[in-house]
Symmetry: C2
Subunit: 383 residues, 2 copies
């Protein structure tokens, strides 16, 4: 039985060209970038080259806008707490959408302990942030508003430019978590009006253990992890050189191949969607067209997402039900509740995320497995 991996939003295989690039870097050095001797200087050079590649992916003003971290979760913590704590004498409110990643929501909630008020803005049934409601929630006391670039669980791409304009009218900073979007759809932080952007290495086929925060020139934030003052004092700790080198190379490849790969994936994605929606009582979640190229998500009446996942695994097909990050709780996904699903509806969710390793021949195999799985589970269902 051939394995078909359709859980790329949870973890992506490292691109072989990135692995090869890392191996080449390893030959040059293993030094500490803070060391003053030749091995240290070579390590530093590797990091600075990666910084340029990441900056170019999102059209940052320059490479000094990029701060490397250990991953997207840390980056979201740094962006939100970093801005909020730095400005806490002046402004006392923070805002996010209802469908943010749990690392954004939990960072915002932690601020409550420090006398900061946290409000969320709702999304419509397709997962799009309601600009009018956002406008009503904002005032000049809001220091940071966080809305993700795109949501990996329902695929929806947010109207980031409109959101940033709305936020800036009230004088606050706009942070966007682009974990699911970067490297897959074009991002231009300058055109989009983004002040802080979260990037993840593995989500664009780089190695795990690296992430980055884009900070617009002139914005000052308070560090979360303190120490030797690496990364311009914003993120201390000896740099994870190879992961950073890999993230740089992954960014470079993504920038070059994104358009073509997106076309290929959208074709497959839409075939998947058409095939699955032929199953009775199946529904697409998220926006039908403003949607990540690699993402197809559904809900089915009267069956459990976890049972779908385990049944599909028996076909050798790996999928997700909601976000991997919240798979351990039995709570229904906060994103699915936010788009208006009832608890029992939110439990019947299936998320398929395509990647570079997938091909068109797999699509009918997957659709057939989904159909058989759903029919089998419905027969067994007491509901």
């Amino acid at each position: 039985m051939k394995n078909i991996y359709l859980d790329n939003a949870s973890a992506r295989p490292v691109e072989p060209r990135v692995s090869e690039f890392i191996r080449e870097c390893l030959k040059d050095t293993f030094g500490n970038p803070s060391s003053l001797h030749s091995a240290g200087l070579e390590a530093k050079k590797i990091i600075e080259e990666a910084r340029v590649k990441v900056a170019e992916l999102i059209n940052a003003e320059n490479e000094n806008c990029i701060i490397f971290t250990s991953g997207a979760t840390e980056t979201n913590n740094l962006a939100i707490k970093g801005v909020a704590f730095r400005n806490k004498e002046k402004k006392k409110r923070v805002v996010s959408s209802d469908i943010e990643h749990i690392s954004v929501l939990n960072s915002m909630k932690e601020l409550l302990k420090n006398g900061i008020e946290f409000n969320t803005v709702p999304v419509n049934s397709e997962g799009i942030v309601d600009i009018e409601k956002l406008s009503n929630i904002l005032n000049s006391d809001v220091v940071i508003t966080s809305v993700m670039y795109a949501n990996s669980e329902i695929g929806t791409i947010e109207p980031v430019k409109e959101i940033s304009e709305t936020v800036h009218k009230m004088g606050g900073y706009f942070h966007s978590d682009a974990t699911a979007a970067a490297g897959h759809i074009p991002i231009d932080v300058q055109k989009d009006g983004i002040d802080l952007l979260t990037l993840s290495s593995n989500d664009m086929y780089g190695p795990q253990g690296a992430g980055a925060l884009y900070i617009k020139p002139g914005i000052k934030i308070q560090p979360v992890i303190l120490g030797g003052g690496q990364e311009k004092g914003i993120r201390s700790g000896t740099e994870n050189i190879l992961a950073i080198a890999g993230m740089g190379e992954a960014s470079k490849i993504a920038k070059k191949e994104m358009d073509e790969e997106a076309k290929r994936l959208i074709k497959m994605r839409d075939e998947l969607i058409d095939g699955v929606l032929k199953i009775e009582n199946s529904y697409l979640t998220g926006h039908p067209t403003r949607r990540l190229p690699y993402q197809a998500s559904f809900r089915f009446n009267r069956i459990e997402g976890e049972s779908i996942l385990l049944n599909m695994d028996m076909y050798g097909i790996q999928i997700a039900t909601g976000s991997a990050c919240s798979s351990k709780t039995l709570e229904p996904s906060h994103t699915l509740l936010a788009i208006g699903l009832k608890h029992e509806e939110a439990h019947g969710s299936m998320v398929l995320t395509l990647g570079r390793a997938n091909n068109t021949e797999e699509i009918p195999v997957v659709v057939k497995a989904v159909r058989e799985t759903v029919e089998r589970l419905r027969k067994l269902s007491p509901l």
Copy 2:
């Protein structure tokens, strides 16, 4: 010209057996350990096996005492802020030695902003913490005392058991940063009476990007990075599986080979010390015998450490002057000032740290290069 790398305390080459182990893990999976399908379960298994290996290295009560992080700096932040914030309603003081790593000192200083008092305890001229002074500084309001297991800049191993007993008499928690010690000298957290211990992957020849915090069963701490609740809710963020797998294997190898390797290194270290001390006006820094097996550090009158480093680099020999983490500032090392050196004395420091790749034939080559370097620089010196 053969390269001789003697800056292992700044960065260690990854052990080839560890790299091979990582490659094997890569074959099995690249899944997200939080995913419920088979790829996720395999990733989870890899992490849990690593946890056992790290626990065994330090004789932890069980593997659930080990929390994986992105490295030692993050771990020190987590230990100190985690304990201090969790208990801030009850206790309002923290204590460290004068020679802690900058990530410990800066984490403690950050607590000052939150109404917590921070005091340091001095060390003697050999870098050993003064137990009597520690005893005088402590009272029942001290929530955490942090003293490193050993100092990589002067090589001194602290009397950890006496320190933990002194700390526990006053009812506080004892944290020890074992970045420089773990994997090189035996550590038994239970016998040593350690409540929290910091471990670094790369410092024991594992990959960069992983660290761990040992937390004694029953001790509760507040997380620093919030999100999906990975690592028992204490450190959120998708796990850096391969770095964690590598850290586990590095721990296993270190546990098995530590005694024999220490004997080999001590012989080389003492030859280095004997050879260098024959140079006029050269002095050993740190304790002559209570000393890390891989560490030899010196100071020379009338010359600059940075000049020594750059001169040695021209011989193809990489060394350090003070800690890599503070190499960017022109300030003299706080550790060297703490052992009583004057500013001008602290500037003439040289730190040689041996590793698995070094061999006895290199020692006379290094001693000769040091002698020539010191003589050349002294001739040029205006002092």
